[in-house]
């Protein structure tokens, strides 16, 4: 989860698409999507639909950290041991 938090935090306030997030973190879709779902359920992640950039393409989901997510990312960056995320499953 640290990798996803860090990637989103570093790009804030920019929103990132799922596939780009995979490339940034090196996570596979089977690891990334459960993490994103869990983060969204916990209120750490906000998502919104973006208009397609080319005709015939479906709209894409883009993600950014919520205020809670930003606070957790900051805490994890300043003190990874006390953030509770060290050792958490990717």
């Amino acid at each position: 989860m640290l990798a996803v938090l860090a990637a989103l935090y570093d790009r804030a306030p920019e929103r990132i698409h799922g596939y780009d997030l995979m490339k940034l973190t090196g996570l596979k879709s089977g690891s990334l999507y459960p993490l994103l779902m869990r983060m969204s359920d916990r209120g750490l992640l906000a998502s919104e639909w973006c208009e397609p950039t080319a005709p015939g393409r479906p709209p894409r989901h883009a993600y950014r950290l919520t205020a809670r997510g930003v606070a957790l990312a900051q805490a994890a960056r300043n003190d990874p041991d006390s953030s509770g995320l060290v050792g958490a499953k990717a």
């Binding site: 596939y19 999507y33 459960p34 998502s47 479906p58 709209p59 894409r60």
Partner: protein, 210 residues
């Protein structure tokens, strides 16, 4: 070729995500288009399938789907496999040592003769064909259970019950022994019990959710 497989895997994955993850399914579909363009569609689709299966126990439809797969793969298909193995070993004409074993298991007397007359032997392939149809019926039944198509599953069950009764009647006449209907009867019982329990549970759960 791999593009078609990837799309099929993706369809399976998205179907498994359930209504509460509909937005996520749409998001995955959009990103799949990007991954496919980059030549990574298959890996992406399998990842989404893993995600969907991981999510199954977390939602109502997922739990019901899991129960259907468990019954189909754990009970109905093994019953079909046992019948098929029986056919391979000569069922419904069972050699005396095996017949004795089955008779002891089912606690039924066996009066099976050591040899079979030519006239009676003529009927054995037909009985075997009936049993083969029964195996096919069980496989269809497993499919309909997975699809939660209870009406078709029940129709297959009725046909299966009729086939088993026919087998019992003709076995009594042809080989004068009921040992050869023990396995089909067990398969029928497993099928009827599991489908009835599953259907009842599904109806109860769906009523509770509604």
């Amino acid at each position: 070729m791999s593009g078609g497989i990837a799309r099929a895997v993706m369809t399976l994955a998205l179907a498994g995500l359930g209504p509460h993850r509909r937005d996520w399914a749409a998001a995955m579909r959009a990103e799949f288009a990007m991954a496919a363009e980059a030549g990574e569609g298959l890996a992406f689709a399998f990842g989404c399938l893993a995600t969907a299966w991981r999510e199954l126990p977390a939602h109502h439809e997922g739990r019901l789907a899991l129960s259907r797969y468990t019954f189909a793969l754990g009970l109905i298909l093994p019953a079909a496999a046992v019948l098929l193995a029986g056919l391979w070993w000569g069922y419904p004409w069972v050699e005396p040592p095996y017949a004795d074993g089955i008779a002891r298991f089912a606690k039924v007397p066996t009066v099976l003769p050591a040899t079979i007359h030519a006239g009676n032997a003529f009927a054995v392939p037909w009985l075997a064909t009936l049993l083969l149809l029964r195996v096919g019926g069980l496989m269809l039944s497993a499919w309909f259970v997975v699809e939660a198509d209870w009406n078709r599953a029940a129709a297959i069950q009725r046909a299966g019950a009729a086939a088993t009764v026919t087998l019992a009647l003709f076995a009594a006449i042809v080989v004068a022994d009921f040992t050869c209907v023990v396995l089909p009867l067990l398969a029928l019982c497993a099928e009827m019990l599991s489908i009835a329990l599953l259907r009842r549970w599904h109806d109860g759960e769906n009523a509770a959710v509604a």
